[in-house]
Amino acid sequence: MGVINDNISRRKFLSGAFMTLGLGFGLGMLGMRFMQFLSPTIKKQRFEEILVGSVNDMSGDDAVPMEIAGSKILFLKTDAGLAAFSRKCTDLGCLVGWDKSKEQFICPCHQGVYDKNGKNIAGPPPRPLDRFPVVQKGDNIYVKVKVA
């Protein structure tokens, strides 16, 4: 012991470190651009009111499923008037269906259950069903959905 066999000069170490840093930076940049290429651009969200029918069309007790601009919607009369529920289960994104006899929304994937006001009452869903705003203008019913 005692003799330190230092074959690497300071200059050599510094130039090596510099090279490594540069290479790492370059490759990191390349990797980042790679990931950016693979992530599609997020489109700006735009909402629009879309005519879905007249009050008479929607007066039944049964749920009416509809797909509007990619949003899957179930129209249903709730205690507080007509509501447009998103069919997307708040659990893991399956589609809920309306069970008329039980008056419940059921998600078949992991047995999530919502009551007729969209409130999660059983199974894994963490929150009530999402709703789309429903607007009534005269006799016409509009729903506000996201459009691409």
Binding site: M35, S39, I42, L92, C94, L95, G97, P108, H110, P126
Partner: protein
């Protein structure tokens, strides 16, 4: 350096290849439970060959994907046989990998061979990834809703979850881009990763050597003894597989319908336990438990060493843990299948 050059001069290439292959194999590998590692390798080769064949007909685009799988299954000459072999080989591969991991776990063969375990764990997870991406390609109801659910599960993972889900899906919703990405993963990235893992796993066995078992001292030659035995196992598996495919030709579910969830979208058996688990347990804690379990599984050799140093008798603990894990897996799977 000089001696290495001398060695190259002295030894012919043929000799060097023989040296590479011809290594002593412990006698305990004659028992079937101990040579379970070669079985998934054979099955992987079957899956690889049949998978390459199917890429000549499969079209990774939503409506056409289902039609092309249907064509492979019903119209193309021997298509049902190729697809049946592919599906069965992957199922058996996962099953035998589970058995292999269990055997290594119970006999504590990972101690003094942590690298083998780490690579093996990566191999197992990659194979499960192959299973998932594979059944997503069929584009029936189970595929579509499986994709949707798994992507949302990834999204719920902490920190990198949302970004990863977005990257995998290629957007905010499952679309044709998602199918294309899963196709790319299934036919390009994951197979390459899998082949690298297998090569590294075998290289690690060569470098670190086979695990030392108590009271097992004898050795025999790799060739012809061990190689022929593996060949015999391969032939046996193949005979069984051909028969199983004949008796149970591959089926195909209903075509994916983004507007209606089928009443049964249960995944294949190897994900049944996880599926049941996330259904019965509260979501966040269920996902956290899965991540924790995976981490403990990967790091188990180090946990083992840590506990051994503190005087725990790991032989017994491993038997208890192994039995518990198998029982839990079997119970959750049966629960999912029967109810």
């Amino acid at each position: 350096m000089e001696t290495a050059i001398e060695e190259i001069k002295v030894k012919s290439l043929k000799d060097r290849v023989i040296d590479l292959i011809q290594e002593d194999v412990p006698d305990y590998l004659n028992k079937f439970v101990y040579c379970m590692g070669a079985t998934p390798l054979v099955l992987f080769l079957v899956a690889l060959a049949t998978g390459i064949l199917m890429t000549f007909y499969y079209i990774p685009y939503p409506d056409k994907a289902y039609a092309s799988v249907e064509a492979i299954t019903h119209d193309i000459y021997l298509g049902w046989f190729i697809r049946g072999l592919h599906k069965l080989s992957v199922n058996l591969m996962i099953f035998t990998l589970f058995l292999h991991a269990l055997r290594v776990f119970i006999t504590r063969a990972y101690s003094a061979g942590e690298l083998k375990w780490l690579i093996g764990a990566l191999l197992l997870f990659t194979t499960l990834g192959m299973g998932f991406t594979g059944y997503a390609l069929v584009y029936d109801q189970v595929s579509y809703w499986g994709m949707t659910v798994v992507m949302n599960m990834i999204e719920e993972m902490p920190v990198a979850g949302p970004a990863m889900a977005y990257l995998l899906r290629g957007g905010a919703e499952v679309s044709e881009i998602t199918l294309l990405r899963l196709y790319d993963l299934h036919t390009k990235l994951l197979p390459v990763l899998l082949i690298l893992c297998i090569a590294a796993h075998i290289a690690a066995i060569r470098i670190i050597d086979f695990a030392k078992m108590k009271d097992e001292k004898g050795v025999h030659l790799f060739y012809p003894e061990h190689a022929l035995k593996v060949g015999l196992v391969a032939v046996g598996i193949f005979v069984v597989m051909v028969n199983l495919v004949m008796i149970f030709p591959p089926a195909i579910g209903q075509m994916a319908n983004p507007l209606e969830v089928a009443s049964n979208v249960a995944p294949p058996w190897y994900f049944s336990a996880v599926y049941k688990w996330i259904t019965i347990a509260p979501r966040q804690s269920a996902l956290f438990a899965l991540l924790l379990f995976s981490a403990l599984f990967v790091l188990y050799p180090y946990i083992d060493r840590f506990l051994v140093q503190r005087g725990f008798r790991m032989e017994r603990i491993n038997i208890v843990l192994g039995t518990a894990a198998v029982s839990a897996f079997a119970a959750l799977t049966l629960w999912n299948v029967l109810f």
